[in-house]
Amino acid sequence: MKNKISFILNGEKRQLEVGPQDTLLEVLRTKLGITSPKVGCDRGDCGACTILLNGDTVKSCLILANEIDGQEVTTLEGLMEHGILPIQEKMVEKNSFQCGYCTPGFLVSTHALLKKTPCPTKEEIKEGLAGNLCRCTGYTPIIDAIIDFTKKNS
């Protein structure tokens, strides 16, 4: 019972046949070659699969592929259309990652946070990233990078 869907992926119109149980995360990774969203828990707990759906962060493991028909999906790959983002440079500088597995999810969440709140307080940053788990960094280097980044912007 495959269903044909069409949607925008990172600025490009795509068409695809998907099954009723296929999650967006599964489809992105196994059918579309988009591997920055990672599988961490497959139940919405960890945020490693965070992407933008019509500009808002969602956990792609909780979205059925059928649901995105006619909508706009953006992954970290799409955000880097014009090269590495300044916030990415800042996160490299601040060692805001260790193993790197959760990093794409954090970047998508950070991007969404800064779009809504260009100069967030520390509490707003914590709140904005609370849906993404990281076991390596202790989060402080991620939060510090965003604070440093937005200071220079303001």
Binding site: I125, E127, L133
Partner: protein, 793 residues
């Protein structure tokens, strides 16, 4: 202190761009093509049962199923330190979730559905879920030895298992290893004491919770070559264990290749071999097809290594002036169903359970006990976090009872360089005292936060803890490195340690950069591939900076000497005048001489007659700590030198407890570690910030909950809560002390695991300071505090 160009500098990570852009590939990101097969595992629903019959017929008939595999095809045992594990359960299952069979299918959903159709008939046995049930007899007398329990043996064939010579399994028992330490005169030590304090502490099991789950793909081609892609901290050790386990099928080391791309967090959980053996075995049954085994988050909780639980009985003798005269510590470890790796955790803790204290008279029993819970194994801290919770809590209580300041008490007894360790060898030079003093100053020790009259429900407390840890490894654990120049003078370093996030690649590049004057950003370190990269034991034990760093330094020096040889030979320069600077060879006697690497490093130096001298420069280095030995008297532990060195430090916390809700808020942590020489201070700080939160998680939030049948109840992130951004301490002050490790690269020693070790006892001590209640079992959750407060009322 030094005039190094790259060592000791917080240079940027060389894996930064790959990871920040999502370009870094992990096993599950690799595209294995349309022919990839998927395996699903048939798991035991029982903690303890005999397998009576397995019927695979129904599953085999399902369309898309390629093969159903059971233990009948693989009756082999394997393991790292002890061969007590099976590829698939044989005759018996020993924990809930244990692999009994596997279905290989065209797609994951078909495999999962078919796995449910495999029929397994069990004869259910009583599960043995606690160490005391497993130990049976607790009195050691002439009739029955301690642990005598022949009718309830989880491994009836224990006495047949092969193991390393420093393990001592006990016949007719569930004791897989019994580490004894006897130093000095214990009775005499207690006789000298003015006071003897006894207590008991309990630590539950924990999960690593790397965000990447275990993943493994095996491909056995028709020529008989087995290639494995694994998320692993231990590619060469995996190859060795695969070769050992599959030797009956005709595999040797050269036939097996293990490729490990980046790993999405390890923390010990991806050391050794656990689920990867399944992909290796299954691949041999479907030759020519790659087969993937990918753990889901639940499997990650119940069928990989878990941090072992421990029950500790402590007895310490002290004089009125605070001198510790004797220590007895009995550690009973809930090591789970298989202990091929975990028994060495028990061993390591047994050797070091004095903590970083100078104690003349010591008795330690560290007992590795089989239970019908998932296999215990390596977890960041390797036993030290577990025994230190009890020890440092007890030390604090003793200081309080003697009315001696807790920091003064620790300073008085803190171990110094040259002091005799529990197993008789000498302690390495270290800056423990300096760490203690700096932390005490930073946390403003001795001064309590005033109670805010408008917030009477808040109580404030400070807690202190020392820590130490030595790498736990076989005495012949070694590292090696190849280093190859490219035409432009840039470098590729081949090594087989794993960049699991700690910054290892960057530090290795810094070492090579310092020797060869090539900036780190022109150096690549290659992720391991056992066909291509040279041997490394494992990326564990916080030994990789020290051990592999030595190998890299030697490889770089080897390359440097080759460069000097060549320049001397080709240009008739005086060798002793030559030195390397800014990617070129220069001469002390001729300041105009400058031969850039890019002009000769691959293609040689041209002579006047048009011929060339030289060729590609390739460095080679290796390191093995030849001064260690794990052999010692089994009854006393005396005589060997099982540990290469200890890394030491101190930490303190300033926190508040809400007396109504039990909720803890951490205001500040000061943490000092003696890193030998910090090769990259920012990376050391990264280990502190990250490791501390992982340690705080074990004391504030996490623990594994099992039901009375041995089933894990919280095998997901909804019910096993790890910290988020909302749970971080308000402030962490990282202090790096440097007492050089003379046999380390540029004086470095490891710090990776140590950063989580003091977290639990320092919080326990601070909670006691705040509300006067000593919590003796981890975790110290809000619920536990609130209940304890109610009980006090």
């Amino acid at each position: 202190m030094n005039d190094f160009k790259y060592i000791g500098k917080s240079i940027g990570r060389i894996d930064g761009k790959e990871k920040i852009t999502g370009a870094a590939k992990y096993v599950d990101d690799i595209d294995f093509g349309a022919g990839l097969l998927y395996a699903a595992i048939v798991e035991s629903p029982h903690a303890h049962a005999n397998i009576k019959k397995i019927s695979t017929k129904k599953a085999e008939k399902i369309e898309g199923v390629i093969k159903v595999v059971t233990g009948a095809q693989f009756p082999f045992r394997f393991g790292l330190y002890m061969h007590d594990r099976y590829i698939f359960a044989q005759e018996k299952v020993r924990f809930v979730g244990e692999q009994v069979a596997a279905v290989i299918a065209r797609d994951p959903k078909t495999a999962l559905n078919a796995a449910k159709m495999v029929e397994v008939e069990y004869e259910v046995l009583d599960p043995i879920l606690t160490v005391y049930d497993a130990l049976g007899n607790m009195k050691d007398d002439s009739n029955k030895k301690f642990g005598h329990n022949p009718k309830k043996m989880i491994h009836p064939k224990l006495s047949e298992y092969t193991h390393v010579p420093w393990f001592f399994p006990q016949d007719n028992s569930n004791i897989a290893h019994f580490r004894k330490i006897r130093k000095g005169d214990l009775d005499g030590g207690f006789a000298q004491a003015d006071h003897i304090f006894e207590d008991e502490y309990t630590v539950p099991r924990y999960a690593h919770c790397a965000i990447e789950t275990h993943a493994s793909v095996g491909l056995c081609d028709h020529s008989g070559r087995l290639t494995m892609w694994t998320a692993s901290q231990s590619p060469h050790t995996q190859r060795h264990l695969f070769a050992e386990a599959l030797a009956p099928l005709g595999f040797s080391h050269k036939d097996i290749r293990v490729i490990t791309p980046y790993v999405g967090g390890g923390f010990g959980g991806k050391a050794g071999v656990s689920m990867e053996i399944l992909a290796a075995a299954l691949a041999t049954t479907v030759r020519g097809h790659a087969v993937k085994v990918l753990w889901n988050r639940s499997q990650e909780f119940y069928n990989t290594y878990q941090r072992q639980g421990v029950h500790a009985k402590l007895k310490i003798g002290v004089k009125n002036d605070g001198t510790i005269t004797a220590l007895e510590q009995l550690l009973y470890w809930d090591a789970g169903a298989y202990v091929e790796y975990g028994a060495n955790v028990v061993n390591a803790a047994g050797l070091s359970a004095t903590g970083p204290y100078r104690i003349d008279n010591v008795k330690i029993d560290s007992v590795c006990v089989y239970t019908n819970l998932p296999p215990g194994g390596p977890y960041r801290g390797f036993g030290y976090s577990e025994f230190l919770f009890g020890l440092e809590s007890h030390i604090n209580e003793i200081a309080k009872k003697l009315k001696i300041d807790a920091v003064e008490f620790r300073l008085k007894n803190a171990i110094r360089g040259g002091d005799k360790l529990a197993y008789g060898a000498a302690m390495n030079p270290n800056g423990l005292e300096d760490c203690i003093k700096k932390v005490a100053k930073e946390i403003d020790w001795g001064k309590k936060r005033p109670i805010d009259p408008s917030l009477p429900h808040l109580a404030y407390g400070k807690g202190f803890s020392l820590f130490w840890k030595a790498p736990a490894m076989p005495p012949n654990a070694s590292s090696s490195c190849f280093l190859k120049f490219n035409e432009d003078g840039s470098l590729n370093i081949l090594l087989s340690g794993m960049e699991i996030g700690q910054g290892y690649f960057t530090v290795m590049a810094q070492i090579a950069a310092e020797v060869l004057s090539v900036p780190p950003h022109k150096i690549r370190c290659e992720t391991p591939d056992t066909d291509r990269n040279p041997y490394e034991w494992q990326t564990v034990a916080s030994h990789i900076t020290w051990s592999c760093g030595n190998a890299v330094k030697k490889a770089a020096e080897d390359a440097r000497e080759q460069i000097f040889d060549l320049v001397e030979r080709a240009l008739e320069m005086k060798r002793e005048d030559l030195y390397l600077d800014s990617e070129a060879v220069k001469s002390k006697s001729d300041i105009s001489f400058c031969l850039n690497f890019k002009d000769f490093i691959i293609n040689g130096i041209s002579k006047k007659d048009g011929s060339f001298r030289g060729g590609p420069i390739l460095g080679r280095g290796m390191f093995m700590p030849e001064f260690t030995s794990a052999l010692s008297d089994p009854e006393t532990g005396q005589g060997g030198k099982p540990n290469v060195h200890y890394t030491v430090g101190a930490a303190a916390v300033d926190l508040q407890v809400d007396k109504e809700t039990g909720k803890i808020k951490i205001h500040k942590i000061a943490f000092a570690v003696d890193a030998g020489v910090a090769l990259n201070p920012d990376l050391v700080k990264g280990q502190i910030t990250g490791g501390l939160l992982q340690g705080l998680a074990t004391v504030l939030y996490e623990d594994m909950r099992f039901d009375d049948k041995g089933k894990l109840l919280n095998a997901n992130f909804t019910d096993y809560k790890i910290p988020t951004t909302l749970d971080i301490p308000e402030e962490i002050v990282s202090i790096i002390v440097e007492t050089p490790q003379m046999d380390g690269p540029y004086g470095a020693r490891g710090v990776g695991e140590h950063t989580m070790i003091p977290a639990a006892p320092m919080v326990g001590n601070a909670v006691e300071d705040a509300i006067g209640i000593r919590i003796k079992s981890m975790p110290i959750t809000a619920e536990k505090i609130a209940l304890a407060m109610l009980k006090e009322k």
